[in-house]
Symmetry: C2
Subunit: 275 residues, 2 copies
DNA sequence: TGTTGACTTTGACGCCCCGTCAAAGAGGCA
DNA sequence: TGCCTCTTTGACGGGGCGTCAAAGTCAACA
């Protein structure tokens, strides 16, 4: 029979923990004397160790309680372990991703003295209805002009209420010299209609698919500077063990009406873990 | 200018989080009207995203605060990142170990329907002074007799106060058929003396070295059953990616005086990560 | 102009597993 | 008897918000 201090020392735990486990009904002392002193026996060590071992597996004390009381069959035990395994695998991957991100940033500090892509964030984006015109543009300036045209004509022609935010989707490959774009607005309601604009442009309803892992970066400034943002996000994707998984999007978050003042644009790249 | 709900939706965070960050001084709304409504601008997204990105790296909000306010130079930033990298690496290894343990237990359930080695726990053991006799024993029975002899003669001959707990250290290799043992007591004080016992045995002061990673298992029952416990701990070590790193110990936790009643023994194996 | 109904406010509690501190009592040694 | 160590109960804290409650605001529609 040991008092709590000695027992704690043998088991390499704190007295506080033993009291807490008693409170939870996980491990009662074999005897408590009238003054309140707790007494433990060496024969309780296997039970305590079983608790600690299960805790190591990542189970909560709540989950451990029925397990050590033998109130659970092998099947339930298996199910719990399988579930824990899934979570643990997930945790390993998350920690590895975290590690890659940290190392990527250290590398950036080392080579440039500053951190680019400091504000790249991964999100999940839900599917959304989309009313857009498809257009092959010669160059950036051409694209900017078409965007202005679409904004102006759409706000005039399309009834209010279903317009939400201006989005440009770019299916452009690096190798191409022309830009393959969709230019239009995401919708708040699911509407099916077609709108003809001037210069042969035509708005059609499409659906922007959901993307679970979307690398996003918010930038501002004139259009020709978007080049830098794309570069940053590209090296971030590479440095963090991802690869491109679809066409990128540019979401205009600020007043899309006034084309003059610096727009705020969120660039979105669908990505997946590189093989 | 967005109200909190819309801004939260754009940034894919909760309103609660935005209020919390304001409370911490991480991100103030651009404007708060007399009724208390908060208003945010799209231009605050980069700042919010920077916070979120740093949080992804595992920094605490406390640490992030000076970083986004630009009150920290590149050197301090580097130091923080290096420190985080160390921690992240550690976390990866811990999660991997956890995963191995879980999988090892699932495998045990699959092949035997029960979990052996359920109560194996890793501890760090500090160095401790040790007063012991070295003895080559023919077999287990011989060892048990010598242990009884050492216990009886030591408790009679050695002054009280420096005796603590009976420990048997076994340097025996699997291939050998004789047991190479140290049998003696750990000491509470550092004493240097030699004690002669009968049958040519001699107690000398040694030091049990500290072990950082010690796999331990508490068992009870007669000596010949220790075989099973050793088997369990052996397969645990293998199944969890460790390997043996030194002589094992048996620590008698119960009254070492009475040799008859089932002793409670903690078996300790020094281990290291397998290469 | 009133009435919804959706949104927002502050405030508080909860979570998970204890570490840590405080004040007061108990046990053991000189 | 005095003193020192150990133990008791009780409470707070922490990290990063989620969640609920009660009350106030806003915009749209009848």
């Amino acid at each position: 029979m040991f008092r709590i201090g000695e027992f704690a020392q043998i088991a390499q735990v704190s007295g506080r923990l033993l009291r807490y486990y008693e409170e939870l009904g996980l491990l009662d002392p074999v005897h408590t004397d009238p003054s309140g002193y707790r007494y433990y026996s060496a024969r309780q060590l296997p039970r305590l160790n079983r608790i600690l071992a299960l805790k190591e597996l990542g189970l909560t004390l709540e989950q451990i309680k029925p397990l050590i009381d033998g109130e659970v069959g092998a099947d339930d035990m298996r199910a719990m372990l399988e579930e824990r395994r899934t979570r643990a695998l997930e945790a390993v991957r998350m920690e590895e991703a975290r590690l890659r991100q940290i190392e990527s940033r250290i590398a950036q500090l080392d080579e440039s003295g500053e951190v680019r892509g400091a504000d790249i964030v991964m999100k999940a984006i839900a599917a959304q209805p989309y009313l857009a015109a498809t257009c092959m543009c010669e160059d950036i300036d051409h694209a900017v002009r078409v965007v202005g045209q679409v904004v102006a004509e759409t706000s005039a022609r399309v009834s209010a209420g279903l317009r939400d935010r201006l989005i440009v989707v770019s299916r452009t490959e690096d190798s191409q010299d022309r830009l393959d774009l969709d230019i239009g607005f995401s919708l708040t309601r699911d509407v099916d209609r077609t709108v003809k604009l001037s210069d042969g442009l035509e708005l059609r309803t499409l659906e922007l698919p959901a993307v679970d892992t979307m690398a996003t970066l918010v930038r501002t400034g004139p259009a020709w500077r978007s080049h830098f943002a794309f570069g940053a996000i590209g090296s971030w994707i590479e440095g963090n063990g991802f690869e491109l998984a679809g066409p990128c999007r540019e979401v205009f978050l600020d007043p899309p009406a006034a084309g003059a003042v610096d727009p705020i644009i969120e660039i979105q790249f669908p990505v997946r873990r590189a093989a």
